[in-house]
Symmetry: C2
Subunit: 261 residues, 2 copies
Amino acid sequence: MPDTHSPHAIRARIRNGEHSGNTSGLAPGFVQCNLVILPQAHAHDFLRFCQANPRPCPLIAMNPSPGDPTLPALGDIDIRRDVPRYRVFESGRAGDDTADIQSLWREDLVVFALGCSFSFEEALLADGLDVRNVSEGVNVPMYRTNTPCTPAGPFSGNMVVSMRPFLAADAIRAIQICTRFPSVHGAPVHLGDPSAIGIGDLSRPDFGDSVSVKQREMPVFWACGVTPQVALENARLPFAITHSPGCMLVTDMRNSQLAIL
Amino acid sequence: MPDTHSPHAIRARIRNGEHSGNTSGLAPGFVQCNLVILPQAHAHDFLRFCQANPRPCPLIAMNPSPGDPTLPALGDIDIRRDVPRYRVFESGRAGDDTADIQSLWREDLVVFALGCSFSFEEALLADGLDVRNVSEGVNVPMYRTNTPCTPAGPFSGNMVVSMRPFLAADAIRAIQICTRFPSVHGAPVHLGDPSAIGIGDLSRPDFGDSVSVKQREMPVFWACGVTPQVALENARLPFAITHSPGCMLVTDMRNSQLAIL
């Protein structure tokens, strides 16, 4: 049987232009990462931003040195070609998405691979919980909060959170499960009253799609990987690259390896 | 310096009639237990009840054999004299409290020592959380729920819960902390809307005292050690003995020994 579902095989297809879309559901069991690529001049500040805000910005790996396009900690990766779609920022503004950044590569670029909610959603689903954005087949709803991140250099902004509704007993279970995975956002940061963190209307997310909240369910909020993208826009760097939303870096690391216990 | 604060010294004072009241705050760091003493004829059913309902009835230790008044797993204990006040039940009805059950002791009595919320409250306080019943100096509020326990023989009844209010972020932290201590009720069983578990009015607890719930706080509910007392009353046994509320068995076991990780 040919190897078509391994992270290695999926990255090969992406590299060859055979897959250019969403990575949701690909290579089940393996970590997918948010991606931020910055010139070295700003890398130290961004690293400090991640260190100071680990819930929204859980750093899993970096390239060994500036300009090196590999991520040996996560697999045989060429970061210039192994993500289905990239988003290029100039002066803090997103330009067109592109499937390949070889022509944009520079010797001063630093790569940050950050944890992503796909990993903890898999753990919640494996426990039998109903992850509403999955069962309704939409993107998770995300909201800007009034909770400021700790700034670092030019990087600042309020935390963005994702929301999944649960009955109280399932919310407690979700907290227990996600506590095991601090490097993919960890335990929720809030639950219950959305206005307590500055969210006005759950049915109107700032990013992603709305999901239904059933009777007796409460909204549960996790720190979200869109937070570093917002910080990146606020920083108005001359040049930066991220993944395109939903088109993540598929790695050889297993989700179970991220469990702290 | 004389040994006055060790569990051994406290039990000696209780045994000598020098302390007959509440044990709250005594021997910090050490486990205190709820106590149930039953004739052997009903002990197997009660043990099954504990096994089937571990959240409200977390069994920590039993006497080595019926009629044996010691609990070697918990210290040099004479269970007939080492609890400040006992409550004696006849046909499911509580009679007078007594400081000594030597005259009531029988060769068929089985002793159950159950985990108590004092242990997890200590862990919450050590983490800097405001445990409202402690900061307000009252008994924790307790409520009858509409959640039935799994019955076993004559033992049945709805779960009783204790309530402590927290801000959402502190509630999440409390869930993480208490998850480490399954043998003292473990993680909360509910949070948020009291009516979801059949509680009408938070300001009117069925047992204990009411506490203030501040703005933005949510009620967090734990399975409570009063549950086995209710099951005992429902069973209408000819004869049973428990501790008197708040007057617990002070043991040599450290709270930290109960942490599963």
